[in-house]
């Protein structure tokens, strides 16, 4: 009989918050208000100029100004080199990153790592940590003064602005405005992605870009088509009829996988959020004339809650969907979709192709994306954006020459998709880590083991693309959906702004809100209890957050 140590309690608490924090808090880094990529609203800070690369690889599906990413059907046959010579000076460069892949072999057994060192002209010392334990490790590194040269800043650790100012380099003089011309590949990163690294009037790092494209409400297109149903309902009522028609519990088939993907914002979409989108509710906060209103406070949200509870009552939502708290149900929901035991599920746009990879339903399998319809004739539906960047890389304070050297390395790493450098960095050594098959690059077993786990992609990266190797249909479908979804999307007006109360309290407050929502959806509490939950959110910190964000908004005009 082991005694549960206090350490388990503390560790469990702190690491679980990192897990919970990484999701919703990422949304808080990002763009400003309005449709599409936002205008600059931290005008005090000089962001790097955007100088798109003209000689780079050509995409099959072109990127659009609205924020739609470029799409590639295959990796280009002749990858161009976009840099000259080695950027490094032979020193050791240490970097701390999260890893989302199995640990890579050590340097002496890792062909990829050795090749990378050679191409860069430095010795990379990668210090990785599994995502769930990121916060703990970061904090001991800071407390123990053991920070490496480069640190991945993921989510918003509390007191981030003060932490950045105390330990990390303000990069404005190196990258602001035209200074970024020294690093042409970094200049290739559009302005919107840099905003996530701005705090306290300084630019504190280089972003890892993703996309403003938010979650997609997926559905099993093959099953819906086989039943002759309309996959794009034009009102909430039609949506419910669709759910009713595909729901079949006796055969272990439920219409909806995910009842509620809320967790304090972030743009993740479950059934509740989808209905909110139908009603035109903005993402997290709605901004009008300098004042902020939280989505939870809107009457439309109360209505969406009532509808979701009805759907649960009607038995259209998978009964096990409320699963375990700290473990992400995402994988389970995806599995239900693949198994056909659920038909509709909201998930990240990057999940489009992985559905096909886990496909067991045969060649007719098809995934589609459903846009939220206008709830009724009186509403205007919206989709939600995501935080454009995944994280940013911060530089430990160091002499200027060292910073410039590190920036040269990051410049190399920002080589765009389709280039020779990107091929080496993300796929490894030809013949060992990957081979050409069917005109496309295919990783070998060695490649899968050596590359992902090293986490180099989180140190420096170019703008993202839509690319699903071996799944050209998925790539095209995803690209087309982006073209439709982004123009009707809204962003969270508070992204890119820092609120101390949010950073410290959101995990716990959002957890309480989620609990209230779960209770209402499952029918344990009446819809009328929502008002009380919002009220207690407001007094416990919500109003405080609001005023901090409004302050920040005012200061950034």
């Amino acid at each position: 009989m082991d005694t549960v140590s206090r350490r388990t309690l503390l560790r469990g608490a702190l690491s679980a918050t990192a897990l919970a924090a990484a999701g919703p808090l990422v949304a808080a880094c990002g763009t400003g208000a309005g449709n599409g990529p936002a205008e600059s609203n931290n005008s005090g800070v000089l962001l790097p100029s955007y100088i798109p690369l003209t000689s780079g690889p050509q995409a099959d599906l072109p990127a659009l100004a609205s924020g739609v990413l470029a799409g590639f059907l295959k990796y280009p046959a002749n990858p161009v080199a976009v840099t000259n010579g080695k950027p490094g000076d032979g020193s050791t460069v240490s970097a701390f990153v999260e890893t989302f892949s199995p640990v890579a072999p050590a340097l002496s057994q890792n062909t990829y790592w050795q090749a990378l060192n050679k191409a860069l002209g430095v010795n990379l010392d990668m210090q990785v940590v599994p995502g769930a334990n990121y916060t703990d490790k970061l904090n001991v590194l800071v407390a123990g003064s053991s920070l490496p040269d480069l640190t991945m800043i993921s989510g918003i650790p509390p007191n981030l602005p003060a932490l950045l100012q105390a330990e990390f380099q303000d990069m404005t003089e190196f990258l602001g405005g035209d200074a970024v011309k020294d690093y042409p590949l970094l200049a290739n990163i559009p302005t919107v992605y840099w905003k996530t690294a701005v705090f306290n009037g300084g630019l504190y790092g280089v972003p890892i870009p993703r996309s403003v494209m938010g979650d997609v409400f997926y559905y099993r297109a093959d099953i819906v088509a086989a039943k002759g149903l309309n996959p794009q309902p034009s009102s909430y009522a039609e949506f419910v009829s669709l759910c009713k028609a595909i729901n079949d519990p006796k055969r272990n088939v439920w219409a909806l996988a995910d009842p509620n993907d809320s967790g304090g914002g972030g743009g993740a979409v479950g059934t509740l959020q989808f209905i909110q989108q139908m009603l035109g509710v903005g993402l997290d906060w709605v901004h009008s004339g300098g004042k902020l209103v939280n989505a939870w406070e809107l009457p439309e949200t109360t209505e969406a809650l009532a509808r979701t509870a009805e759907l649960w009552q009607a038995g259209y939502i998978h009964p096990d969907s409320f699963g375990t708290a700290s473990e992400s149900m995402t994988t389970t929901y995806k599995q239900w979709i693949n198994a056909g035991s659920a038909i509709l599920d909201g998930d990240s746009w990057t999940a489009w192709a992985p559905f096909y990879e886990e496909n067991v339903a045969g060649p007719s399998f098809r995934i589609g994306g459903m846009l939220p319809p206008d709830y009724d004739s009186g509403s205007k539906a919206v989709t939600w954006q995501q935080a454009p960047s995944f994280s940013f890389t911060a530089f430990k304070k160091a002499p200027k020459s060292r910073i410039r050297q590190l920036l040269k390395i990051l410049n190399w790493m920002a080589a765009p998709f389709g280039s020779a450098e990107y091929l080496l960095k993300n796929y490894g050594v030809s013949g060992v880590d990957w081979t050409r098959q069917g005109g496309d690059v295919v990783a070998t077993q060695t490649g899968l083991a050596e590359v992902g786990g090293l986490g180099v992609g989180y140190v420096g990266a170019p703008p993202d693309v839509v690319y699903a190797p071996g799944e050209e249909q998925a790539t095209k479908d995803c690209y087309e959906f982006m073209k439709k979804s982004i123009p009707m999307s809204v962003a969270d007006p508070t992204t890119g702004l820092y609120s101390r109360t949010y950073a410290e309290q959101n995990t716990s407050l959002a957890g309480q809100i989620t609990d209230a929502q779960q209770a209402i959806i499952q029918g344990q509490q009446p819809v009328s209890s929502w008002a009380a939950a919002v009220k207690s959110w407001r007094s416990a910190g919500g109003d405080q957050m609001r005023s901090e964000y409004e302050d920040a908004l005012a200061k950034s005009k």
């Binding site: 009989m1 549960v4 096990d320």
Partner: protein, 323 residues
């Protein structure tokens, strides 16, 4: 000592304390070999547990890692307020914790003892070893896996409900039933850890002198009387010891296990003290508050352990230490 009549109190006291000191020194000299043996273990404890414990000073600070312990702001007892701010949810959590602890005491704790006795009475040594090796397996699973397994069995689309649904009965969804939550938690603990705890009791049983059993059966004592008079007393001291030690960690009852399963049943029926503190106070990065909670947990644990030990003494048992 010669009779002195009215000796001055100071002198008597001085004499007593010097003789006490002398006795202590004599004891030290007598036991020094023993104490030498204690040094490596104690040194490790002092260096790697007690020195870092000094770091709990941050319970009184507004600690930031980049400022360090010395430079972080001193805020006295503010961090402790999360525990004592009179929230009604706190009382709910307290109630749930007490109920779950009671279930632990009356239903979970005896199981390994019963299992140990059962195994002990098996005739076949091989069977005993085999069963033992099977029963302790679940201990190695993490709570995440155990909860997943229980969900597979008892969840809304688990094996049980699937079977019920297929045969036209109403489904029960045990996992989602808030009325059964505490019992579910206790069952999970039994399933996961009983086999493991049995090992300890089996070891205690093996220390019992076999001759006692022989003498008893020669005297005509039935199996039940042997159990009552020989076996159970043999387990008593270790059982009481384990019970008291468990009390020390009652405040952190099942944190990992419970936090994973609150979703389907809601907070009111599932919140215990450790999860309450987590939800209401372990804010992201609040190191000072975490340390404060750790301190309070420890102090309550000390009180419970020492108190339980005293009670054990009242019943004539040894407990952890004799007074």
């Amino acid at each position: 000592m010669a009779v002195r009549g009215e000796a001055p109190a100071d002198e008597v006291r001085a004499e007593r304390s010097t003789s006490r000191l002398r006795r202590a020194v004599a004891k030290l000299r007598r036991d020094r070999a023993l104490l030498l043996l204690a040094i490596p273990g104690l040194a490790l404890l002092l260096l790697f547990q007690y020195i870092p414990l000094l770091g709990n000073i941050i319970a009184f600070e507004n600690y930031e890692p980049y400022l360090g312990i010395i430079h972080s702001q001193w805020i006295g007892l503010s961090n402790f307020s999360i525990i004592f701010n009179g929230n009604p949810e706190f009382l709910d959590a307290l109630k749930n914790t007490v109920i779950i602890t009671a279930l632990q005491v009356f239903f979970v704790f005896p199981v390994p003892i019963v299992l140990a006795l059962l195994l002990n009475s098996l005739v076949s040594e091989r069977l005993k070893r085999l069963v033992q090796s099977v029963l302790y397996l679940p201990h190695f699973l993490s709570w995440v896996v155990v909860v997943a397994i229980f969900q597979e069995m008892f969840g809304g689309s688990g094996l049980l409900d699937d079977w019920l649904r297929a045969h036209g009965h109403a489904t029960v969804n045990i996992i989602g039933n808030s009325g059964l939550f505490k019992e579910m938690i206790a069952s999970q603990v039994i399933w996961k850890d009983s086999g493991w705890a049995t090992i300890l009791f089996l070891a205690a049983l093996s220390q019992i002198d076999a001759a006692l059993y022989e003498a008893a059966s020669v005297d005509g004592a039935s199996r039940w009387r042997q159990l009552w008079h020989i076996t159970l007393p043999g387990l008593k001291s270790i059982g009481i010891l384990l019970f008291i030690l468990q009390l020390g960690s009652v405040l952190s009852t099942g944190f990992e296990q419970i936090i994973l399963q609150q979703g389907p049943v809601g907070i009111a029926s599932s919140e215990v003290l450790s999860t309450y503190v987590y939800h209401n106070g372990i804010l992201a990065g609040q190191w000072g508050e975490s340390a404060a909670v750790g301190l309070v947990n420890g102090l309550v644990g000390v009180a419970l352990v020492l108190g339980a030990n005293k009670i054990a003494h009242m019943f004539g048992e040894q407990g952890i230490y004799q007074s």
